[in-house]
């Protein structure tokens, strides 16, 4: 059975996630942009990262900062995955080579 204190904790965590502000958006967006820039320097950006960044900006322009923060975090996660891919493929590509 879930205790009251657990419920309060869950509720508190949920409200902390929901409280997206313009400042939160700016922080999250900057982090996403920086990660995507790094992916660009590795010549390995993903189209879906660009789409998530654009969606974040659009949501922020409409004043929906919860959505803007969520999209920024999505973009950052995608950009980091593309960085991981580019880094690991520096050696992993050889496994596919016809020999």
């Amino acid at each position: 059975m879930i205790s009251l204190s657990s419920l309060l904790l869950i509720g508190g965590a949920a409200s902390a996630v929901a409280a997206g502000s313009e400042a939160d958006f700016k922080t999250a967006y900057a982090a996403a942009e920086a990660a995507n820039k790094e992916a660009g320097s590795l010549r390995n950006q993903w189209t879906v990262t660009a789409a998530a960044l654009a969606a974040a900006k659009k949501a922020a322009d409409a004043g929906d900062f919860d959505q803007a923060v969520a999209q920024s975090k999505e973009a950052e996660a995608l950009a980091k995955a593309s960085i991981y891919q580019a880094t690991s493929e520096k050696e992993a590509w050889k496994a596919l080579e016809i020999r």
Binding site: R43, W46, T47, A77, L78, S88, W93, K94, L96, I98
Partner: protein
């Protein structure tokens, strides 16, 4: 074969990274002696495809998906009666023969006046230390004669390369790698690009064109990598028009959800160099038509 990894959102990303790490752990340890050996590569490349498709005649690989089964081959033969690239070929001939404003023409920029030379491109320019593709050479010719460059992906560029390919039909690819470490490096970079997974779908060029030729991806039958550039440029029904090698590379990248590089970026030039070299000996068949 490693399965495609879906990186859809933060939580699946973490799971996918774990999967990917596991997959990389299973990479055979006996990978690579890193010294490039283009002659051995080309031999192994050809053997891979001829072993995989023992019924396909070597010269037929240049017909891409149409070489993969008899029904499709018949479709191709019927298509060739009234080829959809014909209008582009006519336009290309007209463009090619029409002088520039300064009175010179494309013929002044190329060996043999540009006729029957497609099979020699890309070439490695030792002065510049880089790969020069036919598309790049055509635009450089234009700019050297005071003309604005064409878009690399379709229309006039596709028409010009269609005409030049047509004048080379049947001539075997004859790509040279000069005794120059930079040429070997360009070749190796092209090879690396070909096998490197990219985009959210985690595909390399080889994922489709080495591991799965003859199989379907949605409605398309995948072409084998051997001879894949011999038919370029191509009319694609999917594009409702002609496309160049640049168009093929950039759209392949965006289809796997990777941001394409600029047409004629060094990576694409090197990729074309590699892919053309390993198809040496196979005839030019361009312009081509594809579904």
């Amino acid at each position: 074969m490693r399965s495609a990894i879906q990186f859809a959102s933060a939580a699946p990303v973490a799971a996918a990274l774990v999967l990917a790490a596991l997959a990389f752990d299973s990479v055979p340890s006996a990978v690579a002696d890193d010294k490039p050996d283009p002659v051995a590569d080309a031999k192994a490349f050809r053997k891979f495809f001829t072993d995989k498709f023992p019924k396909v005649k070597l010269e037929d690989f240049v017909n891409g998906p149409y070489s993969m089964n008899e029904d499709m081959h018949r479709q191709w033969e019927e298509k060739e009666q009234f080829p959809p690239y014909e209008f582009s070929l006519d336009m290309g001939k007209e463009l090619f023969t029409k002088p520039f404003k300064n009175g010179k023409s494309y013929a002044d920029c190329f060996a043999n006046q540009g006729i029957g030379i497609r099979q020699n491109y890309p070439t490695f320019d030792q002065k510049e230390g880089k790969v020069i593709t036919l598309e790049l050479a055509l635009n450089r010719c234009r700019e050297a004669n005071g003309e604005a460059p064409f878009s690399y992906v379709k229309d006039e560029m596709a028409a010009l390369t269609a005409y030049m390919a047509f004048t080379s039909r049947g001539k075997p690819f004859d790509i040279k790698i000069p005794d120059d470490p930079r040429a070997l490096e360009a070749y190796q970079n092209g090879k690396r690009y070909f096998y490197t997974r990219r985009g959210q779908l985690n595909f390399s060029c080889a994922t489709c064109h080495v591991q799965e030729p003859g199989e379907r991806i949605r409605a398309e039958v995948l072409a084998p990598a051997l001879g894949i550039l011999n038919a370029m440029p191509i009319y694609r029904s999917e594009w409702s028009g002609m496309g160049t090698i640049s168009r093929r590379f950039t759209t392949c990248n965006s289809q796997i959800r990777g941001v394409p590089l600029d047409p004629q970026a060094d990576e694409y030039r090197d990729l074309e160099y590699y892919l053309s070299y390993v198809s040496n000996g196979l005839p030019i068949s361009g312009p081509g038509a594809r579904p």
